[in-house]
């Protein structure tokens, strides 16, 4: 069960500012929707607890976030894995920090979620909606935090 998404965010901040922001585990962790707690493990690893509320799926889920910056191509890749009770959700997302030349920045992102275990079997449809929302909201939060 894997599910793909993509999107774009126009951010009113310079590419350099955006590039610095997306490499900061604390800041990126805080962008996760409904995040309740963020604990930075090291410069590229952060644990976060998010409150999930999609239909019947309610409760707190522990997520492990790994940031993989690629300075040359100004691309940041992220691995998010989390779950509970024998289920695992592996999200991979990546964003290209693009300089359209007008002083602002274009964040072109794409994401993919792979679910395993009972959550895939039962929550397949629930999961799709939740994973898409998680990734969309995270990148929207990046824009919000940078333009404020």
């Amino acid at each position: 069960m894997d599910l793909q998404y993509s999107g774009e965010e126009k951010i009113a901040a310079s590419p350099a500012t955006v590039w610095a922001f997306v490499q900061d585990p604390e800041k990126v962790g805080r962008c996760l929707p409904e995040v309740v707690d963020v604990t930075v493990q090291d410069p590229t690893h952060v644990d976060a607890v998010v409150q999930v509320a999609v239909g019947p799926v309610r409760g707190r889920f522990k997520l492990k976030l790994e940031l993989i910056p690629n300075a040359a191509s100004r691309r940041i890749d992220m691995k998010v894995s989390g779950g509970g009770f024998g289920s695992v959700v592996d999200l991979t997302a990546g964003a290209d920090v693009v300089d359209p030349g007008d002083g602002a920045t274009l964040l072109k992102w794409s994401g993919q979620a792979v679910a395993r275990g009972p959550v895939a079997a039962i929550g397949g449809r629930v999961l799709d909606a939740q994973a898409r929302k998680l990734i969309e909201q995270a990148f929207a939060n990046v824009r919000q935090q940078l333009s404020a």
């Binding site: 069960m1 779950g83 509970g84 024998g86 695992v88 395993r116 275990g117 009972p118 079997a121 039962i122």
Partner: protein, 782 residues
């Protein structure tokens, strides 16, 4: 058919079942009904990954969960010498709890013991396992490349488990090459699962005498006792296995599962009773699956439809461990029955098995050891041949049937069919069906563009494993046994080495004793499943109960009769030689009026036995001289909805020949149940894995069991061709309907679509597949 049980003449009586009163009043006794003071609940941590290294298992959080008493992992078991268990036929071994890495999704990783079910589940959730995913091998064809070696623990560093073959390889190849007509088809019998309504489970504890008291859902309790003794080192006298009422088995309750071993180890380590009951998800994802045979079938024939040669090459998906519960000399089970009901001049069958990242197993779901796969292959391929030769599939079968006069028939792949009258069974079906009228209706419908199909399956099975010269499990020969004791008042008890899971042994075994000894079956108690009391037996599966244990009961009864004859002679004041058993009583030869009943003799055996040994009992261990070969003709009539791809089974007729019938009502019940399983397999069921090794059918929402609304109405009929070598001529019938029916369903659908040029559809025949087959065929036409 008479339904009254009476002393003598209880064979063939549709007697009401003796075991029903407890079930209809909620007084059945299933494993999960057992609860004991201080009993702990065991729940298993399972892997979400299908192939991954285990970096670490952190049980600290779990141990803090209120109610959790202990958590054990593979390393703990390894330290106790129980890390790996030999698989059923002893040619491989299987991890109890994962050690080092996991090899299939939902594999057991850790065992949590807690005071309540809730606490056990909470404990499972708190165990932190760190996995490092490894590349996944999702089918035998990827496995064959050996790019990723799944089992480095084995000596041979390959995923190839075994090559098996039987028959004349070169002769068949030559005959095929020389055949003017030839068909070949890849036929995949998909992975499915027996899913008995009661999941597997056990209660294990060590009593004050240090004996392991082990209540478990087992179809073969004695084999469990011996295997556990060998594996755990606990002396066999200190192991008491009790298999109570079982809520269905269908082969799912033959293997010994990791949950059982963890329960025993837990009970020993913690010193309290431990109950393990699996969930439906655990049952479907980790216990014995069935089938998963990719079969390439080739048949050669003359233009007028005489078959010349058969070749079948199979790639078998055995999952992560080779735990297929076959007799040890038969890695591909009875697949050699693939020539079916047809007299092939030459044949050659071969099977290559491979490891994959899927659950282990393969032998289950009423399969008679791969007979379901073999029968589906030949019955589907014969329809493809009929289509190629433009001959009516009925005529093609009739022309190639083994004739009645050829029995006992030596098949080209090593069996000697005991008896059969295939033409009579076929004609019985055609007449009951009104075949000509159906053909006329089909022609009219086809003219209007409607899709109607008629599908046949004229199968022959091989059951009743089996003769000691060929068959053993863990070295133990596959005999079976019975012990009969008649009490002073003429009542009695029979104990057998089998274990019913709903087949009605408490009634049918009593009917055999009633017939053989002229006693009332209502007063013959039947007991199975308790290894402290029942004589040693190999259990109930592969339709072996009646052919093997049924024979043992008849033979034990005849030993009782011989002993009784001595007491009768004394009562009749006649020489033993002058006393004969006739019309269910002992008579002085030629003087029928001078006779005594078995009831009278039984009383005398305890009160007036003269010089004879008191008491009236006997035991018999029956080693069958040959297997038995039930057959049948099944016919499905279907209508296909072009717009939705739905297939409606309008009629289904099953004519079965299983030799002598003990209880027609119970036989009919077995046929109804087996046909419903065949229907489910043909149209609904599959255990599917994606390329990542994720199981997509892990519960009853996605692994479909048909309800009363989808299940067709079943028409049944019979012919009777007794087995010459069985004491009462019985052949066994439990698996025939599951063996024979899938081909009839699929043949009917393909027949309905044949005007569009469709020649084969793999099971399950879903609406989506049918709709697309129609759409693609119409696209080809324009």
């Amino acid at each position: 058919m008479s339904t009254e049980s009476k002393p003598g003449g209880s064979l063939g009586v549709a007697m009401k079942r003796k075991e029903d009163p407890r079930f209809i009043q909620g007084k059945g006794h299933y494993v999960d009904d057992i609860s004991m003071p201080g009993m702990l609940y065991l729940a298993l941590v399972r892997s979400p990954y299908s192939h991954a290294e285990i970096k670490s298992i952190d049980i600290s959080e779990a141990m803090k969960v209120p109610g959790v008493k202990a958590v054990i992992t593979g390393k703990d078991l390894e330290a106790a010498g129980l890390g790996w268990l030999p698989t059923f036929h002893g040619l491989d071994k299987q991890m109890v709890l994962a050690i080092g890495k996991v090899l299939f999704q939902y594999q057991e990783v850790a065992a949590v013991f807690a005071e309540t079910r809730g606490a056990a589940a909470d404990g499972v959730e708190a165990v932190q396992v760190d996995y490092a995913p490894l590349p996944v091998v999702a089918d035998p064809f990827a496995s064959k490349t050996d790019k990723v070696i799944l089992r480095p623990d084995r000596e041979a560093k390959t995923n190839h488990i075994f090559h098996w073959e039987v028959g004349d390889k070169d002769g068949t190849a030559r005959a095929l090459a020389a055949s003017p007509k030839r068909i070949s088809q890849r036929i995949w019998f998909q992975r499915c699962h027996p899913a008995p309504l009661e999941p597997c489970g056990c209660v294990a504890y060590f009593d004050t005498m240090g004996r392991l008291q082990f209540h478990v859902t087992s179809q073969a309790p004695h084999v469990y006792r011996t295997a556990l003794a060998i594996v755990t080192g606990i002396p066999e006298d200190k192991i008491h296995v009790m298999s109570p009422d079982l809520g269905g088995g269908f082969g799912n309750k033959v293997p010994i599962y990791p949950g059982y071993v963890c329960a025993i180890v837990g009970a020993l380590k913690i010193g309290r009773p431990v109950k393990w009951i699996e969930t439906r998800t655990e049952n479907l994802t980790s216990t014995g699956f069935a089938r998963d045979y990719h079969m390439d079938v080739e048949i050669g024939a003359t233009p007028d439809g005489r078959v010349t040669a058969l070749h079948v090459a199979t790639a078998a998906d055995h999952g992560a461990f080779d735990a297929a519960a076959d007799p040890s000399k038969y890695p591909a089970g009875m697949f050699g029955i693939v020539t079916g009901s047809y007299d092939f001049p030459t044949a050659h069958a071969e099977v290559d098995a491979y490891f994959t990242n899927k659950a282990p197993g393969g032998i289950a779901y009423r399969c008679s050891f791969r007979v379901t796969e073999a029968s589906f292959a030949i019955e589907r391929a014969m329809d493809i041949l009929a289509d190629e030769l433009k001959i009516d599939p009925v005529e093609l079968r009739r022309k190639n049937f083994v004739r009645k006069d050829q029995f006992p028939y030596p098949s080209r792949l090593g069996f000697t069919y005991d008896s059969g009258d295939y033409h009579k069974t076929l004609d019985t079906a055609l007449e009951a069906l009104g075949y000509q009228a159906l053909l006329k209706e089909q022609a009219e419908k086809r003219a209007k563009g409607e899709l109607m199909g008629i599908g046949f399956s004229t199968f022959t099975e091989v059951v009743g494993a089996g003769p000691s010269k060929h068959f053993d499990i863990l070295g133990i020969k596959m005999f079976d046994s019975a012990e009969i004791r008649i009490h002073p008042t003429g009542a009695g008890i029979v104990r057998a080495g089998t274990k019913s899971q709903g087949q009605g042994h408490e009634t049918t075994w009593a009917q055999i004793v009633g017939e053989e000894l002229g006693l009332d079956p209502q007063n013959i108690m039947v007991e199975e499943g308790d290894t402290d009391t029942a004589p040693y037996g190999l259990g109930t599966y592969a339709s072996r109960s009646t052919p093997v244990a049924g024979a043992a009961i008849a033979m034990a009864a005849r030993r009782v009769r011989e002993k009784a004859r001595k007491v009768a002679a004394h009562l009749l004041e006649a020489g033993e030689a002058d006393v004969e058993w006739k019309d269910y009583k002992f008579q002085v030869k030629g003087v029928p009026a001078k006779s005594v009943t078995m009831k009278e003799v039984a009383f005398a055996a305890y009160t007036n036995m003269a010089q004879n040994e008191p008491g009236l009992e006997a035991t018999y261990y029956y080693d069958p001289p040959n297997m038995t070969f039930p057959n049948g003709t099944y016919v499905a009539v279907v209508d296909v909805d072009r717009e939705t791809g739905e297939v409606k089974v309008r009629r289904f007729l099953a004519v079965d020949d299983c030799g002598t019938i003990i209880n027609p009502m119970i036989v009919e019940g077995q046929i109804h149940g087996g046909l419903t399983e065949g229907f489910a397999i043909a149209f609904m069921q599959e255990i599917q894995y994606d390329s990542e090794g994720n199981n997509l059918n892990t519960n009853f929402t996605d692994y479909l069991v048909p309800t009363s609304l989808e299940t067709p109405h079943w028409e049944t009929a019979k012919t009777i061709t007794p087995s010459p070598h069985h004491p009462i001529g019985a052949k066994g019938v439990g698996e025939s309907p599951n063996v024979g029916s899938p081909a009839a369903f699929v043949n009917a659908v393909v027949d309905a679509l044949s005007p569009l040029g469709v020649r084969h559809i793999d099971m399950p025949v879903t609406r989506d597949k049918v709709w697309r087959a129609i759409r693609d065929a119409e696209a080809r036409k324009t």
